[in-house]
């Protein structure tokens, strides 16, 4: 029954989008973390989505293929009093672009909402199909 499969498709998209939202939250939360477990400034992370075939060939779900670290250089801020400052007095700040992350957050939550609506529509159709002939 292909309508049931919509739940799998939309559900996979919802979990992928919520993982993206999770990464965005981590990036925003660490926008000022000058040190991390590696001793370096925190590096922004991004998710990479991939389409995966579901039960039938015409349906494609989504999964997070990998989480990549942003390769752009850290922002150097002049602050000689900072404990992490180097000899020249510069502190390496994370390469998180807060504006980009906010846009990413809105995009992820809107996509999530759209998939919830898709699921709701499928549910309505299924309920009406069940009531057939009554």
């Amino acid at each position: 029954m292909s309508l049931f499969n919509i739940f799998n498709v939309a559900g996979s998209a919802m979990s992928a989008q919520s993982q993206r939202l999770n990464v965005v939250a981590s990036n925003i939360a660490n926008a000022d973390s000058t040190t991390s477990s590696t001793g370096q400034a925190y590096k922004a992370k991004q998710v990479v989505f991939q389409a995966v075939p579901m039960a039938t060939p015409e349906a494609a779900g989504v999964k997070v293929q990998q989480v990549v670290e942003d390769a752009s250089p850290p922002k150097m801020v002049f602050d000689p009093k900072h404990p992490q400052a180097d000899e020249q007095g510069y502190v390496a700040m994370p390469n998180v672009n807060v504006v980009e992350e906010m846009v990413n957050m809105i995009s992820a939550s809107r996509s999530y909402q759209t998939n919830v609506e898709t699921m709701n529509a499928a549910k309505t159709l299924l309920m009406k199909t069940l009531a057939l002939g009554q």
Partner: protein, 139 residues
Amino acid sequence: MIGKLDEHLRFNEAALNLRAQRQQLLASNIANADTPNFKARDIDFNKALQGALTKGGSSQAPAPALAKTATVHLSSRNGNAVGDAPLQYRKEQQGNIDGNTVNMDVERNQFTDNAIRYEAGLTLINAQIKKMLSAIQGQ
């Protein structure tokens, strides 16, 4: 007699089945709106319905499927088609830098349209069933 009942409902049943499959196709387009290099797909519903009706249910035996030894192997049985209509790629209206061709407005529009038509199909079948019931009961 039962065969005639079946015949009576077959058109709407085929239409409903195809609508459900198309709904799934549109749902996966919407789900992959942010996937790089994903190409939005759809079917020619008219062609699919004609194909489903001319095939006449079980008169044609399906071709035997090839054995798959790895998950990446493609399906042999007419994999990229719904009914008789091949899956087609949607024409791109505004290019996307990540190679994704899902246009959310078009997809949502088609999704809602398809859902309404599915419900219309349900209403028609319901009416047919009511008609048959009143004919059987004769009241």
